[in-house]
């Protein structure tokens, strides 16, 4: 393939292009961390990816070009097609799926390299600790692969049950020890093919076993963790192949993903070790022990609309329930009606609203809500005290005062939006049951709370109609 230019020039071009790609990735990620420049950021990173991919065709001594090109086309087109079609509410599981693919790819690279060791051909590049890093990358990548697929299945609703059995931790521990022994064999000794197969099978199993006991509510943290792991695996395989673009991009994502995972876990007040080794969002940890006093008081949508139209300041707290009902467009319409009437409207977003931190912002942005009307928990919590109406729509645990008051509640200590401090609270809810986590919401029983029952979409429609008549 590189016949038309000298081997030296090809080498130089390859290295220069990888260098450029690494710069573009970091530059792109940097731009993606500000709302105004974020769009450009992903385009820059995309250019980096195209440059790196094209230049790789010039790598010396390669064959199998037909297989390579067809794999790129098949994989690329399938991913393009699914990525364009997926609804915004389903975005988290798609990220999990694509992430699993990356982990699987890194693991497959390691498998090819280890096979070369097995057949005696030797690693593609003899580099510092290459065989050890190949084994570690294989382990991490495989776990990220099978774990992400389970996370995908759970969020997609294909796997609703939480599987747990006695001695699961011990079994995981035993498997892990076996993996370490096998890994040491692969890294340091001559090994039989069965060891290689057993290693990958066990790693696949560990990924599955680690993920099945985790409840849906914790999935965002888990996806973020697997994202970081895939990055790390890619980085390690980059060291094995002596490929600087992979090393840098992989490790940057590995550390950025680790930080992101910590930020998410903190926002949910759940240490990462708890997410991985204990259950939550599974409904079997006791539930709230505090006596619920008072009763739920219902309100008509038209009355609620009048209350909001005459208010000076309204804060809307959207939750995943709103997104599932596809009510975000109606809510934005309502907001515009209220703003026209001189009401000051803001949106308060809990860090874990939706299914991932920031997911709700994406859903609101899709409906056309400008991002400067949207506030984080820290910025808005002090404002509830001088707010006339807090409209809670489809949110539940993130406004539950039990997190502040009830020490026995599983969500005690989680930072919440202090909707109960507003003069009036209107909760839009489908029925009287408990939410996603199965915890009773004390907010619904407060004296200043009124419940507005119905489908979020219908209620929003009635609110718009009601507000317009005022």
């Amino acid at each position: 393939m590189q016949d038309f230019l000298s081997a030296d020039l090809a080498k130089w071009l390859i290295q220069a292009s990888y260098f450029l790609a690494a710069i573009l990735f970091i530059w792109g990620l940097k731009k993606m961390s500000h709302p105004r420049t974020a769009r450009g950021g992903v385009v820059w990173a995309g250019i980096g990816m195209v440059v790196a991919t094209l230049i790789t065709f010039l790598e010396p001594n390669m064959h199998n070009y037909v297989l390579m090109t067809s794999a790129i086309f098949v994989g690329g087109i399938l991913a393009w097609w699914t990525g364009k079609r997926v609804a915004m509410t389903d975005m988290p599981q798609m990220i999990a799926l694509y992430n699993g693919m990356g982990g699987g790819s890194a693991a497959a690279i390691a498998a090819v390299e280890l096979l070369r060791v097995y057949t005696g051909a030797g690693l593609t590049h003899e580099a510092f600790a290459a065989r050890e890093l190949a084994v570690i990358g294989a382990l991490i990548g495989t776990v990220a692969f099978s774990g992400s697929l389970i996370a995908f299945a759970k969020l997609q609703g294909w796997m609703r049950k939480v599987y747990r059995f006695k001695g699961q931790q011990i079994l995981n521990g035993l498997f892990f020890v076996a993996l370490l022994v096998l890994g040491f064999m692969l890294a340091r000794m001559e090994f039989p093919a069965s060891a290689l197969i057993a290693f990958f099978t066990l790693a696949l199993l560990i990924g599955v076993l680690m993920t099945v006991p985790i409840g849906g509510a914790d999935m965002p943290v888990v996806i973020s963790l697997y994202n970081a792991l895939t990055g790390l695996a890619v980085g390690f395989e980059g060291f094995v192949l002596q490929n600087p673009a992979m090393m840098i991009a992989g490790i940057v994502v590995g550390s950025a993903g680790t930080l992101l995972t910590q930020l998410m876990a903190k926002a949910m007040n759940r240490p990462i070790s708890n997410v991985l080794f204990a259950g939550f969002g599974t409904g079997d940890d006791g539930g709230s022990a505090m006596e619920v006093s008072g009763s739920m008081k219902a309100i008509d949508a038209s009355d609620a609309a009048i209350m909001m139209a005459y208010a000076e300041k309204v804060i809307i707290i959207p939750g995943y329930g709103m997104a599932v009902a596809q009510a975000q467009h109606k809510i934005w319409e309502l907001t515009q009606v209220l703003i026209d009437k001189g009401v000051k409207v803001s949106f308060a977003i809990h860090p874990v609203a939706g299914r991932m931190p920031g997911h709700m912002n994406v859903l609101l942005a899709e409906a056309g809500v400008p991002y400067d009307l949207i506030y984080d928990l820290e910025d808005i919590n002090s404002q509830f005290a001088n707010t006339d109406v807090a409209l809670v729509i489809g949110a539940n645990d993130v406004v539950n005062p039990a997190a502040r008051k009830d020490t026995s509640s599983p969500i005690y200590g989680m930072p919440i939006l202090n909707a109960d401090k507003a003069h009036n609270v209107i909760c839009v809810k489908r029925g009287q049951g408990t939410g996603f986590s199965g915890i009773e919401n004390l907010l619904f029983f407060e004296d200043n709370t009124r419940m507005c029952y119905g489908d979020a979409q219908d209620v929003a429609q009635k609110l718009i109609a009601g507000a317009k008549t005022v």
Binding site: F25, I26, L29, K30, M32, S33, P35, R39, V42, A45, G46, M49, A52, T53, T56, F57, E59, N61, M62, H63, L67, M68, I72, G75, T82, G83, K84, N99, M101, G102, G104, S105, A106, I109, A111, V112, E113, T124, F128, V234, G235, G238, A245, I248, G250, I251, V252, V253, S255, L260, A267, G354, P357, G358, N361, A365, G368, P370, Y371, L377
Partner: protein, 95 residues
């Protein structure tokens, strides 16, 4: 020395990742996770090299899977990230 260069790259890249993310507003967490998910799609490059050097049929099959999955990661990651970020607007801009 070669091992130390690898360690330096590792350390500097790790710091860079940490720095880039640490000042991110919550509203961008999901797009950014998606964006970093796209960036590790660079694994495609490694998969191409692995397949390019594959000799036995087993290696070719595994290498083929590696490239297929890597391309899926890169393309899918880009498409969903781009779709998400496309929607971010300020009320001051025309909307």
């Amino acid at each position: 020395m070669e091992g130390f260069i690898a360690l330096y790259i590792f350390m500097l890249a790790a710091f860079t990742g940490y720095e880039v993310i640490s000042k991110v507003p919550v509203i961008l967490h999901t797009p950014l996770m998606s964006g970093s998910n796209f960036v590790h799609g660079i694994v495609l490059v490694g998969a191409m090299v692995a397949l390019g050097h594959a000799d036995t049929p087993t290696e070719q099959v595994i290498g083929f899977i590696a490239v297929l999955l890597g391309a899926g990661n890169a393309v899918g990651g880009y498409v969903v990230t781009e779709r998400m970020l496309e929607m971010f607007k300020s009320s001051k801009e025309e909307s």
